[in-house]
């Protein structure tokens, strides 16, 4: 069980900054922000010991809207930033926020290795199946027949299945949430943050501007038909029947998190030089 530093009870409002979001009204990310602050409050996290790390995209604007520490890095590299941070500062709670473009396209390679490395952190990808910030291009999770300017008539490419990739790459906790159910999402985030190792939560978060069709997601999402498992093989079989709208925790693994020791053997730097001596 990961240890999370707790403090006297805080309210979700304690985790919101005074900066107003630039997200379009109706954006699912407003609910996700709500879920973040509720989860942090539930966990009693100290804002000064919590860091939200992100890349580039609408979802990645989230760090400045919390009053925790934040890092709004470059496109696709949030997991690498977070890895360097967490390994050297295991005392901090590190939450990584991304979107389907930032996380699965340019960030794809780092996604694989972050799952494999299993450093203790939580990765939340707000998936709206489109590139919102750059005006509506398809993303790796966009349906093959979705018509866009860059891909008229649709890309014809099968979408990426992030939960399968996460499971296969060794993520220790895999879940899907829906922004339209912010309390449930907050519950999942609480569990994800508490769970040791690399926790991956894909949050379906509709884009009101470029994917108004995603309004119907609230009718399509449903509770996952089975409870979470700690058996990766079972999880793999279950995910084969996933219609993309199963909400809930799929897998809670038991791999040990990767946390190399920062403390040395208290050997003086001068000792290192002995090997050089003639």
């Amino acid at each position: 069980m990961a240890t999370v530093e707790t403090q006297p009870a805080r309210k979700p409002a304690d985790y919101k900054s005074d900066i107003n979001a630039i997200w379009c009204p109706g954006c699912g990310d407003y609910h996700v922000l709500m879920s973040f602050t509720r989860a942090f409050a539930e966990l009693g996290l100290a804002p000064e010991k919590t860091v939200v790390v992100s890349g580039i995209g609408c979802s990645s604007r989230i760090p400045a809207y919390t009053n925790c520490y934040g890092f709004h890095g470059v496109h696709g590299r949030s997991l690498a930033l977070a890895a360097g941070l967490k390994v050297t500062r295991p005392d901090l709670t590190v939450v990584v926020a991304s979107g389907d473009g930032d996380g699965y396209s340019i960030g794809g390679n780092h996604f694989l290795h972050a799952c494999r490395r299993n450093i203790n952190m939580t990765y939340v990808v707000m998936d709206n199946r489109v590139y919102g910030m750059t005006k509506g291009q398809p993303s790796p999770t966009t349906e093959p027949d979705f018509d866009t300017a860059l891909s008229p008539g649709g890309t014809g490419l099968s979408p990426f299945h992030p939960l399968v990739i996460a499971l296969a790459s060794g993520a220790n906790f895999v879940a899907r949430a829906f922004s339209g159910a912010p309390n449930e999402t907050a519950n999942i985030l609480v569990e994800a943050i508490r769970h040791p190792g690399f926790s991956f939560v894909e949050v379906l978060s509709p884009c009101v501007t470029f994917r108004p069709d995603e309004r119907e997601w609230k009718s399509l999402v449903h509770a996952a038909p089975v409870a979470a498992t700690n058996d990766p093989a079972k999880a793999a079989r279950r995910i084969m029947t996933d219609d993309g709208f199963n909400i809930g925790i799929l897998y809670r693994g038991e791999r040990r998190p990767y946390q190399p020791r920062m403390e040395g053997q208290n050997i003086d730097v001068a000792e290192l030089e002995k090997d050089f001596e003639l």
């Binding site: 009870a9 309210k11 979700p12 409002a13 107003n20 979001a21 630039i22 997200w23 379009c24 009204p25 109706g26 699912g28 407003y30 609910h31 709500m34 509720r38 539930e42 580039i56 995209g57 609408c58 910030m133 750059t134 005006k135 509506g136 922004s179 339209g180 159910a181 912010p182 309390n183 449930e184 907050a186 519950n187 509709p206 009101v208 501007t209 470029f210 309004r215 609230k218």
Partner: protein
């Protein structure tokens, strides 16, 4: 999501008060949030509408707090683990917002919220075994019914906007 789970976590009047208070404060939070969104997106008319709604819900929250007297409603709500109960009965769905929304839309949103709250307290009333809880639930049902009426009256003042309400000649702007 506006129904009580089969095993009701409400075992005392304090629980019910805490829940009701939470519903109202959630609503204050959401309307305030929406007011800020409207301000950022230059929809001045709606800033006022949402601030008014937030103020109204704030008054309701204050009334409930007075009813509660010495009970620490925040702590009570936390003990309830109400998050585990699913999503808020009186949720003003942030997903229904739009930067060009009109007062009519805002009131529709408010109406849905009030109706969901009404349905929630009605189900508490129906399922409650404890007399005190039943009485309190009945009070809340009456309150919420009044709120529903109020919103409906307000709606009569604001016409449904034409189908072109969301028209914006300017295309979306890339930002990243």
């Amino acid at each position: 999501m506006s129904k009580m789970p089969s095993e009701s976590p409400i075992v005392s009047v304090a629980d019910l008060l805490a829940l009701a208070h939470q519903i109202e404060t959630d609503a204050v939070q959401r309307y305030t949030e929406l007011a800020e969104q409207m301000e950022t997106h230059n929809n001045q008319e709606l800033v006022k509408v949402f601030r008014d709604l937030a103020r109204a819900e704030g008054i309701h929250a204050e009334e409930i707090r007075k009813m509660a007297g010495d009970v620490d409603l925040t702590a009570q709500a936390q003990r309830l683990e109400r998050w585990k109960m699913g999503d808020s009965p009186e949720q003003a769905d942030l997903g229904a917002a739009h930067y060009l929304m009109t007062p009519w839309h805002a009131l529709q949103l408010a109406l849905t919220g009030e109706q969901q709250a009404l349905a929630f307290f009605t189900s508490v009333l129906d399922s409650a075994k404890n007399e005190k809880i039943k009485d309190m639930a009945a009070e809340f049902v009456e309150e919420e019914a009044e709120h529903v009426n109020l919103v409906q009256r307000l709606l009569r003042k604001y016409p449904k906007p034409p189908d072109s309400w969301a028209n914006d000649d300017d295309p979306p702007r890339p930002q990243g």
